[in-house]
């Protein structure tokens, strides 16, 4: 059986292109930022190993302990990093899976939680232009999310006004900082996102990488495993904030897509929120229906990393139990180590549910239609 026979349309909502080298951004950055980032003619390695030495792009303190922290079967023929070659990725992933659209979310990291927001904003614009020029123009199946600076909504709105109407841009990859997602701080971003019909995408990247990164609630993780497993807490906290602050009353058509934070935790989150709202609704009187109804209407979740209960069918039971068939978006997460293989990860999903997850839900949850 070929892959095409296994699906009737496929939209991969999380594919990661990466920079081979930060010097790829030189054409998109003025000298002030090149100098700040030590790239182009300002490259210098001096003191890079010293405390407060040369600029380093923010990276997670949690190192993946695997021998190869990306999928080791995804190195392009030129030996560069997996995810660095648009043509190879197109053949290795899109041809193999017969993918209709791949939504590119920058995979080498972000400056969204970086302390110097002006530098972060200029880097972000450059990274968006690099992604568009190098990747999106290279294959008609590529679509992209644009990044913004969540710490500065005015700059974020400017960036959306600059490029947000390009048809290849299908969402806003906002990233998580230490301001809960429901706060009015973000509402100018939500206003333009709703007007442009662009979903907000939240994808782990800032967690542990910058001064404005969100905390993990109790305290720092000790290991990558602890860090990775705790990402769901960030998703959960932000879902609660979005609903309780009334975002979906003010912006009823806004979609927020949580990618890679897991999704099975949404069941008890819905139950507890609904229960609490019955008692405490007067504290959030703008929340006018059950919290779970807003969640079902406005929030979507990436499938990867697919959760693997001891009895795989239990996951389907849970999805049906909470009426979440329309809420899940297929993500391969290629070329990351924890990605999912299309024809193995969803074996227990009924055919109709697979089609929703693979195609119908992504089509309705990103700006993929004219």
């Amino acid at each position: 059986m070929t892959t095409r026979e296994k699906h009737n349309g496929l939209i991969d909502c999380d594919v990661h292109p990466v920079l081979s080298d930060f010097n790829e951004l030189v054409p998109y950055l003025d000298e002030s930022i090149q100098q700040y980032m030590n790239i182009g003619k300002f490259a210098k390695g001096a003191l890079s190993k010293q405390n407060s030495g040369s600029f380093k792009f923010p990276a997670s303190a949690y190192a993946n302990p695997l021998p190869v922290p990306l999928r080791a079967d995804a190195f392009p023929p030129n030996g560069d990093i997996p995810g660095s070659d648009p043509a190879f990725l197109a053949s290795d992933l899109l041809d193999r899976c017969q993918t209709d659209y791949a939504i590119l979310n920058i995979g080498h990291g972000t400056m969204s939680a970086f302390h110097n927001v002006e530098v972060a904003a200029k880097y972000t614009s450059a990274a968006n232009d690099w992604l568009y020029d190098k990747w999106v123009k290279s294959d008609p199946r590529y679509r992209m999310t644009m990044e913004i600076t969540p710490l500065d909504p005015a700059l974020a709105v400017q960036e959306i006004e600059r490029i947000g109407k390009r048809p290849e841009i299908v969402g806003i990859n906002m990233h998580c900082v230490n301001i809960p997602l429901g706060k009015r701080h973000y509402w100018p971003i939500y206003e333009i996102a709703e007007a442009y019909n662009l979903p907000i995408v939240l994808h782990p990247d800032t967690e542990g990488t910058g001064e404005y990164a969100a905390s993990f609630g109790v305290g720092p993780a000790s290991t990558y495993m602890e860090w990775h497993t705790s990402l769901g807490l960030i998703g959960q906290r932000n879902v609660i904030s979005l609903v309780c602050e009334g975002v979906f009353e003010r912006f009823p058509n806004l979609k927020v897509n949580f990618i890679e934070y897991g999704f099975s935790w949404i069941a008890p989150t819905m139950w507890r929120m609904d229960k609490n709202w019955k008692a405490l609704r007067h504290e959030v009187p703008w929340v006018k229906m059950l919290p779970s109804e807003y969640i079902r209407r406005n929030i979507r979740f990436g499938t990867q990393p697919i959760e693997e209960p001891a009895r795989p069918k239990d996951l389907v039971e849970l999805i049906q139990m909470i009426d979440a068939e329309h809420m899940l978006l297929f993500c391969s997460d290629y070329p990351h180590w924890d990605g999912d293989e299309l024809d193995r990860a969803f074996l227990h999903f009924p055919k109709q549910l697979r089609h929703k997850v693979f195609y119908e839900n992504p089509l309705a949850s990103f700006r993929l239609q004219p």
């Binding site: 009353e249 008692a279 405490l280 009187p285």
Partner: protein
């Protein structure tokens, strides 16, 4: 009048139910709470539909009305009774929960008539007992 078709039951004198006071009756095995708030008498089944705790211990309050995001609008002053356990709000005039009209406490038709507090019931009551009741509210 509908209430004329019902069975009239005198519960106590108006003197015995002053503003803010509460009394508990058992009518044919069913506990009925009686309360006076802002001059109006309310009678209701003394059991929350959620987990059954006695509603007569509930606070009588106003609440925040459905509003625009991030705005508070106070209203229904002393027309709400809150379940003493989880705080569910019920409108004393309708019995309906504020979170859903599908959920309610049973309200009885209570009136002040000729210095008496009177209840109108669908069925003729056989056994009426006033029970000891005290609460800190």
């Amino acid at each position: 009048m509908r209430s004329q078709e019902k069975h009239r039951l005198v519960l106590c004198s108006a003197e015995e139910l002053r503003e803010g006071e509460r009394r508990l009756f058992e009518v044919d095995g069913v506990e009925i709470g009686l309360i006076r708030a802002e001059g109006t008498c309310y009678a209701f089944r003394n059991s929350c539909p959620h987990q059954g705790v006695p509603m007569l211990y509930g606070s009588v309050v106003g609440t925040m009305l459905p509003s625009e995001p991030q705005e508070y609008v106070y209203g229904l002053h002393n027309e709400i009774i809150r379940c003493p356990l989880h705080g569910w709000e019920f409108n004393l005039k309708t019995g309906k929960a504020l979170f859903s009209p599908q959920v309610s406490i049973k309200m009885y038709d209570a009136k002040e008539e000729d210095d008496e507090i009177v209840l109108y019931l669908d069925r003729e009551p056989q056994q009426i007992v006033q029970k000891q009741f005290a609460c800190a509210l």
